[in-house]
């Protein structure tokens, strides 16, 4: 599926496009070009419901003046299409007329650690993986009614160049497996999910055997069949590493994205340098981890990925920036200017975001909790960064009674205020779980990793019916 490097425009054409886009009259102009190949295989109802592939090329030209950006894209990489996009992006600016651009930061990167290149693996190997997963799940428990498993691969080649002298190329290969299992008994229907993914190749299918992946999803679905309706009201909540990772991404990470901070649309803007959380708590974003799902060598503006400390021992610390926000706020470039594809303008986004492990024994955290809710998995959530409000749907939860998991509960969610919840964290485990996910913002979906140790929050509103 490797779309060749030669598909992308050469340096000479890029310089012509940048000149056409009005360099000299703008703060900077930029060309982002991309060639992507996709493959998806999905099994459901014990049959292959989808065998799909696709190829897409395109480029976007951006002209930036102060806080103002103009963007035009094209799903063609011909010189005519690129020059036309440059004219459209330039809007009312005259062309600069041949001023020479020197690329002084030229680099190529690839953080994918591909051991098994997808194009060398026959389709049948993927189908075999899907059928093995299906058979295994169905053999586990007679209450399992439905199995959906999907293998999704993408290979993207990116070239970004700007009048600031950056010229970066990168190859990104990602593979993800997602399983969803439905169990039913006595009119109750429950679903369990599990997914694994990496910045790498089809070695994922060997490293994560189908039986193992689907078993985790199936166990969840079956466990939840016995669930009682969730309680409603405030209580102590223990979050597993998986749950806490999503919590941190939503309730803290988004609030430190510099576009929201710049607009005063983040509750964290006024809290920088202040201690809001327990000193047990340190959280970072790091896009530069080789082989990890949410990683990249360069962000989608050509800035190298780096580690950014978001919360340092409870104190609100650094911001996630892109180039425009970095210039506007006078904040360092953190390497978080990301976009879904050439169809979009980059904005500040997370990459791999996680709470660092603390000192507490995760089992002890649970054992020392008299009564509360244990959140094993969160299906997702939503946050209003301006007010700090958050809501998370609990897909696997258990009542804690006397320091033990007493029974599963269904239909629960968590609602509250981000900074206040951080202040109420009273235990951080020494474990760490990382999960691949997809984050949506302004209509753009990008791969991210969430991760955390087990944590406990003294008081959170649990929304249920009981």
């Amino acid at each position: 599926m490797g779309a060749a490097w030669t598909d992308l425009p050469d340096e000479g054409l890029i310089k012509r496009v940048l000149a056409q886009a009005g360099e000299g009259k703008a703060d900077f102009v930029e060309v982002f070009s991309q060639a992507i190949a996709f493959r998806t295989f999905r099994l459901e109802g014990s049959r292959v419901e989808e065998a799909a592939s696709g190829r897409e090329v395109g480029a976007g030209v951006r002209v930036v003046r102060g806080r103002s950006q103009s963007y035009a894209y094209t799903s063609s990489l011909t010189s005519e299409a690129l020059l036309e996009a440059a004219r459209a992006a330039r809007a009312h600016l005259p062309p600069s007329g041949g001023k020479e651009i020197r690329f002084h930061e030229v680099a190529a990167g690839n953080l994918a650690r591909v051991r098994v290149p997808p194009e060398e693996v026959p389709i049948e190997a993927r189908l075999d993986y899907l059928f093995r997963a299906d058979q295994h799940a169905r053999s586990m428990d007679p209450r399992i009614r439905q199995v959906r498993v999907e293998v999704a691969e993408s290979h993207s080649e990116v070239l970004v160049a700007s009048s600031l002298g950056v010229l970066a190329r990168e190859e990104r290969t990602r593979v993800r497996v997602a399983a969803s299992v439905v169990a039913a008994a006595d009119g109750v229907v429950q679903t369990g999910h599990e997914s694994v993914g990496l910045l790498g190749g089809l070695e994922l299918l060997e490293d994560e055997p189908p039986e193992k992946v689907v078993e985790r999803a199936a166990r969840r679905a079956v466990a939840m069949l016995e669930a009682r309706p969730a309680p409603a009201g405030e209580m102590t909540v223990v979050l597993s590493g998986e749950g806490a990772g999503v919590f941190f991404h939503e309730a803290v990470g988004h609030g430190l994205e510099a576009d929201l901070v710049e607009k005063g649309a983040s509750v964290y803007a006024r809290l920088r340098g202040k201690k809001v959380g327990s000193e047990l708590l340190t959280g970072v974003d790091d896009g530069g981890l080789p082989g990890v799902w949410g990683s990249f060598a360069f962000d989608d503006e050509g800035t190298p990925a780096a580690r950014t400390v978001l919360i340092h021992e409870g104190v609100v610390s650094e911001l996630l920036t892109d180039r425009v926000r970095s210039m506007a706020l006078g904040e360092p470039l953190s390497g978080n200017g990301r976009r879904e594809s050439y169809l979009h303008i980059p904005i500040p986004r997370m990459s791999n975001t996680f709470i660092l492990p603390g000192k507490d024994d995760p089992e002890e955290i649970l054992a020392s909790t008299e009564k509360g809710l244990y959140v094993a998995a969160i299906g997702g959530g939503e946050v209003n960064p301006a007010t700090g409000e958050f809501v998370f749907g609990v897909t696997e939860g258990y009542m804690i009674l006397g320091g033990e998991l007493a029974y599963p509960v269904r239909g629960a969610n968590l609602a509250g205020d981000g900074p206040r919840a951080l202040a109420l964290v009273d235990a951080v485990g020494h474990d760490l779980v990382r999960k691949p996910g997809t984050c949506g913002k302004n209509g753009q979906a990008i791969p991210v990793t969430t991760g955390a140790p087990t944590i406990r929050v003294a008081r959170v509103t649990v929304g249920g019916v009981g």
Partner: protein, 451 residues
Amino acid sequence: MKRVGSADPGAMLEVARAVVEAASAGEEVEAYAQWTRETRVRVSGGEVEAFSEASAGGVGVRVFRGARVGFSFTTDLSPGGLKGCLDEARGMARAVPDLPDAFLPGRQEIRPLEGIFQEDPAEVGRERKVAIALEIERAALGSAPEVVAVEEALYADQVEVVAMASTRGLSASYVRSWYSVSCSAMARRGEETGTGFAYGLARSLGELSAEAVGAGAGGRAARSLGAVKPPTRRLPVVFDPLASVALLSALAEALSGEVVEKGRSFLAGRLGEAVGPSWLYLLDDGRDPASPLAAPFDDEGVPTRSVPLISGGRLLSFLHNSATARRAGAAAGNARRRGFRGIPRVGARGFRFSPTGPKEKALREAAEGVYVTEVLGAHSGINPASGDFSVGVRGFLVEAGELGQPVREATVASPLMEMLGGICFVGDDLVYLGPLGGSTLVVAEMTLAGV
């Protein structure tokens, strides 16, 4: 086919036909070609924050070798690109096992659909588009003294061409366009921040009011200040039109024939049963021009129509594409894909309840309850398989039929089956958010959780 405004359906139909004409003996081929041009203007602080204008197109190809189906898409519409895409799809079809009941629908008579292309966005000047976005922001900032900033004031338009061809004789296309404006405003009092959102979508620019959307968002943000966490209890819940979309979205998924046949719907196996009050009527009208997804044919080329899903409170039908329809012994016409990049699945196009009265009556109907203006966490808190509905909300308490204290950090929850049974009012204030037509809805009793 001649040009329609700035769009050229003839060119896309040629692309689709070129793919189909290259079909070999022993295979059936379908091509879905799509071209879009869009403008987006985002303003902030009186200046244009982002102006984007662009077009993109591609084709998605399905190849059937007997009951084996493969799919591939490409943005390369050159002869070589189309041939490569067809070969990719063939390769997929060769590798997979049979997919029972998969077939390419035959040619059917397609009635044209008026009203989905009214005004060409290309005819509207850039300056006017920017002026509209600035007007939204101005109206929001001027709506109340507490409104301090506008997080986002957005103008958007789109023209789209869809053209389909197949070896079963399909050859058809349509052009549609829409305009939308939206606004997220922020209000502040002391350390407290409140937010408000408003939105509008129409086929012609004259039907949209930048002023109303800006002022609506600003007013909501200001009114939400002073919000408290309400006490936990059971009460009637009023959803405003945008908030009601959370419920519609869960129902649209649960009514998808694809979801039903996979046992992932709480409505599976309930055809013919009473699921709501005896006056309740829910339909999917693929030909309602007010919905941005309205089209003369679905994404497999099957003519669209209005499908009654719940009538007289009884569950009458599910939504189907050709494969799920064949398995269920029902009618197709509800195939939907994510543009040229996706295979046809099942989806709604104009999904709404029939109204029972003017929206003003909703608060009286609820008497003592909560009025929900914003839903948080809908995709994680609603489970169409288990039938659980539990979402975060922002809004107001309703006291003696009037809006009272604003509330935040609260959730409302109920089994979806009880929500359907408990619907006691549907307002006449229809607003489409994509294919889902929201309106003011009152549910007789749900659990509100706060402190």
